[in-house]
């Protein structure tokens, strides 16, 4: 009886210890990774934010504190406002076309029964190509004597058309190149989502008389909403930060028509050597990316 009493007294304490252990151990295990990411990214963000509050460029001796002066100057700068507008068009275009493309490809991959592994590898190829190589390839496609697009258009009876030398068409080309470059990863994310949807739900919908479109709308989409949100996040982030395709493809031109925020930030930092203004642009990009990710997460949770 006494033994039973001791056992009943000690059991909750042991359970509590085990419970705390279960809670703490995962955090303990991921803490090195969190510390590493915080060290690498956190330092850059904090340093960037601090730099944006000072005047740091090659013309100023020392680092005078200017508070929000860099941000105010930025929002008065027509070149920054142009970059912001161009970025929004570029990202919106990429999201619309990129999501349509990656969703279509993911659905096709999900539907095929054979060579799925091979097709999945093919889908990933653009993502494995370096940005510079992709830019050069797209440049050859649209400019020069051996331009495939030009030759095709001419064979179809269209006259000579300038692509990268025309402001609107150049923006369309860099958007297409970006879609080609970053969509494969979104495809993989969506494919993962599609594979996790319970087949029985489709069977039940079929019994209820749902056609393919109804099933897609009422079963597939709700089932992959978290993955859809993740894809949107990826497409937005990657596009807002896109730089390595645009710079070699157009250099931001013609006439700053493809100078999106990331390219503008590069020009400020590494051509104008104006580090504090570039840091302010970095913070603006960060805020936009954070806002969008919160929005996507909220939408996926609402459902």
């Amino acid at each position: 009886m006494a033994v039973d009493n001791i056992a009943t007294r000690e059991l909750p304490a042991a359970r509590r210890r085990r419970k705390w252990g279960e809670i703490l151990v995962p955090y303990l295990l991921v803490s090195p990774a969190i510390l590493f990411v915080a060290g690498v990214l956190g330092y850059a963000v904090v340093n960037g934010f601090v730099t944006s509050l000072f005047r740091v460029d090659i013309w100023t001796i020392g680092r005078p504190f200017v508070g929000l002066g860099n941000y105010l100057a930025l929002f008065r700068d027509p070149n920054f406002l142009n970059s912001l507008t161009r970025s929004l068009i570029f990202v919106a275009g990429t999201i619309v076309f990129g999501l349509a493309l990656s969703m279509t490809y993911a659905l096709l991959l999900q539907a095929v029964r054979s060579a799925r592994g091979f097709l999945r590898s093919v889908a990933l190829i653009p993502y494995l190509v370096s940005g510079i190589a992709a830019a050069i390839m797209w440049r050859f496609l649209f400019t020069g004597e051996a331009s495939l697009v030009q030759a095709t258009l001419e064979s179809l009876g269209f006259g000579q058309m300038t692509w990268l030398g025309h402001p609107d068409r150049a923006l369309a080309v860099v958007t297409l190149a970006n879609v080609w470059f970053i969509s494969p990863f979104a495809t993989l994310i969506l494919l993962g989502g599609l594979q996790s949807v319970d087949q029985q739900l489709y069977d039940a919908a079929a019994i209820d008389g749902a056609n393919w479109f109804h099933s897609f709308l009422n079963v597939t989409l709700p089932g992959i909403l978290p993955m859809l949100s993740l894809s949107l996040m990826w497409l937005s982030f990657a596009s807002f930060n896109m730089f390595d395709i645009i710079l070699p493809l157009t250099g931001g031109g013609p006439g700053r028509s493809t100078e999106v925020l990331a390219v503008y930030m590069y020009q400020l930092a590494f051509r104008n050597l104006d580090y504090s203004s570039a840091s302010a642009v970095m913070m603006v990009l960060l805020v936009i990316n954070l806002t969008l990710s919160l929005l996507y997460l909220r939408v996926s949770r609402v459902r």
Binding site: L164, G165, G253, P254
Partner: protein, 419 residues
């Protein structure tokens, strides 16, 4: 056996001690000096990689690295902040200002005087541009041992075939372009993209009589407006490539080298590549940039320079100067000049091997003596962006009023310069 082991151990200890102590004694003879030099391009590094220099100065060890010219200023400033700036860095001459303003450069006046007194012949070999391009506000910080002008380059065979005389001014260049651009050829090839600093544009500007006030280009001058009209004519009259706004230097050079362009503005360093495809004289030739009609007396030929400057953080300025003097030796610089950029070391330009390798050299000898450096302003990087805006605006709007374009962008340039 035990005695053998004991002796072996003692011998090993003595050898180890000797190996440890030798560098200390060796250093006692003279301080070991490590010099770091950042070259702007791999091609600028002499083929001997300082072997002869090391043999002459066993106490100095030169380590070279390649930091592209385009990022040399930014990287030097960052390295200086971290206390790890190189002893010598090669930068574009027009970017000297930012480094000088940040007190990142060493004043080599005394070292130049010392060189002149010790080796007047070696010092005298250098053209004036070598010193002026390495100076900021009258203070010498380094030496521009390589300079690169752009030349007006044209197809002699096409001109002859069409019965067109070699242009003597830019109006004639445009007219020749109009006549020769028929049949899919490009009349005049030049870049119009934002991929580069506008050095081709400024070279045209200077040849057309463009002026600088306080090192600020005067785009709203007669020469500036004429320059923008020149760009507009390239598009309006189909003289330039239809893709001129997307063309970078590689595109327009390739157009000329591949036989698709009648005229171009090509750097001296690219001439050997042109010669590989076309025969100098029979198929192509070059000459200094012609003047704007009516402004012949204001015509100048601009040269880019890439001086090696000594940084303020060097602990060994005298050794750094020795390295510069080594790089300036005719036998060292000639090897680089033969395969890459021309030099300011004058004896090299007249050497038989140089003329043999670059048969066009005698045609430019006079122009080389009169090259003018591109003026540099502390706000140069930002001014360049505005100049690119102006150029692209002219190319995009070939019928717009060039005077208005010039006035708009001059106001932006002046606003930057006044900050």
């Amino acid at each position: 056996m035990r005695v053998f082991v004991k002796r072996s151990l003692i011998a090993a200890l003595l050898v180890s001690a000797g190996a440890l102590l030798f560098p200390a004694f060796a250093q006692g003879d003279g301080e070991q000096v490590e010099l770091t030099i950042w070259f702007g391009r791999e091609n600028f590094i002499p083929a001997d990689a300082f072997d002869a220099f090391h043999a002459e100065h066993p106490n100095i060890r030169v380590t070279t690295d390649v930091i592209p010219l385009e990022q040399a200023v930014a990287d030097t400033l960052r390295a200086a902040q971290a206390g790890r700036a190189p002893d010598i860095v090669q930068i574009p001459a027009d970017s000297l200002g930012p480094l000088a303003i940040q007190n990142a450069l060493f004043d080599i006046s005394d070292l130049l005087e010392q060189w002149q007194s010790e080796d007047p012949a070696g010092h005298g070999n250098l053209a004036e541009a070598a010193f002026s391009m390495g100076s900021w506000d009258g203070t010498p910080h380094g030496l521009a041992l390589h300079i690169g002008p752009f030349w007006y380059t044209y197809r002699t065979d096409w001109f002859e075939e069409a019965g067109i005389a070699v242009p003597t001014n830019w109006d004639e260049v445009l007219e020749a372009g109009r006549q020769l651009s028929d049949g899919g050829r490009i009349g005049f090839a030049i870049h119009g993209s934002r991929a580069h600093d506008p050095v081709w544009m400024l070279s045209l500007f200077m040849a057309m009589g463009g002026q600088w006030e306080g090192n600020v280009p005067q785009l709203d001058s007669e020469a500036g407006v004429y320059l923008l009209e020149f760009y507009q004519a390239l598009v309006r009259d189909d003289i330039g490539s239809p893709e001129i706004l997307a063309w970078d230097s590689g595109d327009f050079r390739a157009a000329f080298i591949n036989g698709n362009a009648a005229q171009a503005l090509i750097g001296d360093n690219v001439y050997p590549t042109v010669q590989e495809s076309l025969e100098y004289g029979d198929e192509w030739a070059g000459k200094p940039l012609p003047p704007r009609p009516g402004a012949e007396d204001q015509n100048r030929t601009m040269a880019l320079g890439w001086p090696y400057v000594v940084t303020a953080q060097t602990e060994h300025p005298e050794e750094a100067m020795l390295a510069l003097r080594y790089l300036a030796r005719p036998e060292i610089i000639e090897e680089v000049a033969l395969r890459y950029q021309p030099t300011t070391v004058l004896p090299v330009l007249n050497s038989p091997s140089y003329v043999d390798a670059k048969p066009w050299a005698p045609d430019f000898a006079e122009a080389f003596a009169q090259l003018e450096p591109l003026p540099g302003h502390p706000r140069q990087p930002q001014i360049y962006q505005v100049l690119l805006d102006a150029m692209q605006e002219a190319l995009q709007n070939p019928n717009a009023d060039a005077g208005e374009i010039a006035a708009t962008y001059q106001a932006q340039i002046d606003e930057l310069a006044d900050r």
